[in-house]
């Protein structure tokens, strides 16, 4: 009976926004919406300047290439429950914006954007860099400038919402009121028109991220394991990496000294590269530490490393993809150098 009650409760009850938030959102946005890897949704000025449609469509579409994933499988009822939960952090009624387009001059808007917006939002509206954790940025900047050219943003934000944000800014963030900065209503409309024109630079549906088939970068070495390891050490230093240590695959799993000596792992690091990568996305611990594995199988010596591009597809982060391309080249070069 208890089982039936449990199952019935799961299947028939209205979606629980708090539970959905805990399940899908809290890990990045914080359990109370204070932000982290994700933006601080509970910020009063944020909730006062976005309508429910913006929240709903943002959850549905995400921000392609900008960490925030899409949740296309959530039902409308679940989206509504999530929005209600998020709204619970503010006592103010949500704003309501019309979907009517704002008319303005795109050319004039472009010039204004370069003067007033580009320093934070990027020359082409690509937004600020990095995600939200402590060492990614200063904590006194609660929101990284959003990517205004992102198809997810443009699908979620109405012209009226953009205009409202330009008019009033967002207290507690670097986004200040354009009225206070001296622009008039007509100029603000021109800016809205320019931001909306970013839509023209994207296809309606963004291309899916290319699948990467190769999970590892792997080559066969003509040398012995010991010789290959020595070659790798030289190559690592030659690529300006610091060799951290050399150990065995079985390290820590068997008594010290009894590890299989034909399965060697070289750990290395370039701390500047590591710091930059963590700034782009703190979750890259999945990649760490940088290492190359050498092992002997069936008389062949294999040299291998993870393919960073294979993993980076999990992150929905274009910046990280670029860093991983760089790391892929490093791994490939190291392995090639050691096996030539």
């Amino acid at each position: 009976m208890a089982i039936l009650m449990c199952l019935a409760g799961v299947s028939s009850a209205a979606p629980d926004g708090a539970r959905l938030f805990s399940e899908h959102c809290a890990v990045c946005h914080g359990d109370k919406g204070n932000g982290g890897v994700g933006t601080p949704l509970a910020l009063p000025s944020f909730l006062a300047s976005v309508d429910d449609k913006f929240l709903r469509e943002t959850i549905r579409h995400g921000r392609p290439g900008r960490v925030m994933p899409a949740f296309p499988k959530l039902s409308n009822a679940q989206l509504d429950a999530l929005v209600r939960h998020i709204r619970g952090w503010s006592k103010q009624p949500p704003p309501v914006f019309s979907d009517a387009p704002v008319k303005g001059n795109v050319s004039r808007g472009k010039a204004l954007f370069a003067s007033y917006c580009a320093s934070c939002h990027g020359a082409n509206g690509e937004g600020g860099t990095g995600t939200g954790v402590t060492f990614s940025r200063q904590r006194d900047l609660p929101i990284i400038a959003p990517a205004l050219n992102n198809p997810g943003f443009l699908a979620a934000a109405s012209d009226e919402l953009i205009r409202h944000t330009l008019q009033f800014g967002r207290e507690g963030t670097p986004m200040t009121s354009m009225l206070v900065q001296g622009l008039d209503e007509k100029q603000i409309n021109d800016l809205v028109a320019y931001v909306r024109a970013f839509e023209n630079s994207y296809v309606t549906e963004p291309e899916p991220r290319d699948p990467i088939d190769e999970s590892v970068i792997i080559m066969e070495s003509p040398y012995t394991v010991e010789e290959t390891v020595e070659n790798l050490k030289e190559a690592i230093i030659g690529q300006n990496f610091l060799l951290i240590r050399t150990d065995y695959l079985e390290h820590g799993l068997v008594e010290e000294g009894k590890e299989n000596k034909q399965e060697v792992i070289l750990h290395f690091c370039n701390f500047k590269f590591l710091f930059d990568a963590l700034t782009i996305d703190p979750r890259i611990g999945m990649f760490l530490p940088c290492r190359v594995t050498v092992l002997e199988r069936d008389g062949k010596v294999l040299v291998m490393a993870i393919n960073p591009l294979y993993l980076s597809r999990l992150f929905n982060n274009d910046e990280l993809d670029n860093a991983c391309k760089q790391m892929h080249q490093v791994y490939a070069a190291l392995i090639e150098d050691a096996t030539l």
Binding site: L302, I306, L314
Partner: protein
């Protein structure tokens, strides 16, 4: 007795989704514990599930040692010898990913844990090993992360 076990399984199934966030192969959870307590809870639970913590990579120590500002950040490697041995023998290229690891880092007074979903390893292994090993990893991973979140 059988009913009580079934009930427990159903209740756990009802509870787990709130603790387990898998987006396309990445598993990420937040715990309200500060970093030191979360780190302790993680290692304890890993051991209680029969795995050996083979190494803890102190990412933050290396970075701060080189003059970079960072919060607490570690990578915990863990595995069972027999399983790692079987996988590395049957799927040599999987050795590049072994032993499995969980990244753990502070976010203010809370802590975040990130790891690869075991299905990532299963995809690489294909049909060369019995997939039951990855099913077991998934089950254990859920349980370990649950333990960390439930710890006080």
């Amino acid at each position: 007795m059988r009913w009580s076990k079934l009930l427990l399984a159903v209740l756990l199934a009802c509870t787990w989704p709130t603790l387990f966030c898998a987006e396309g192969g990445m598993v990420m959870v937040r715990t309200l514990l500060p970093f030191p307590e979360a780190m302790l809870a993680l290692q304890e639970s890993i051991r209680e599930h029969g795995y050996t913590v083979s190494r803890v990579q102190r990412v933050d120590i290396g970075l701060t040692g080189m003059g970079y500002k960072t919060d607490k950040y570690r990578v915990v490697f863990a595995g069972k010898y027999d399983e790692i041995r079987e996988l590395a023998d049957k799927v040599p290229e999987l050795a590049a990913y072994l032993p499995p690891k969980i990244a753990i880092f502070a976010e203010g007074e809370q802590t975040i844990l990130v790891t690869a979903h075991p299905s990532l390893y299963a995809r690489i292994a294909g049909d060369r090993v019995d997939p039951v090993i990855f099913d077991r990893w998934e089950s254990d991973l859920k349980s370990i992360l649950h333990d960390v979140q439930a710890a006080e």
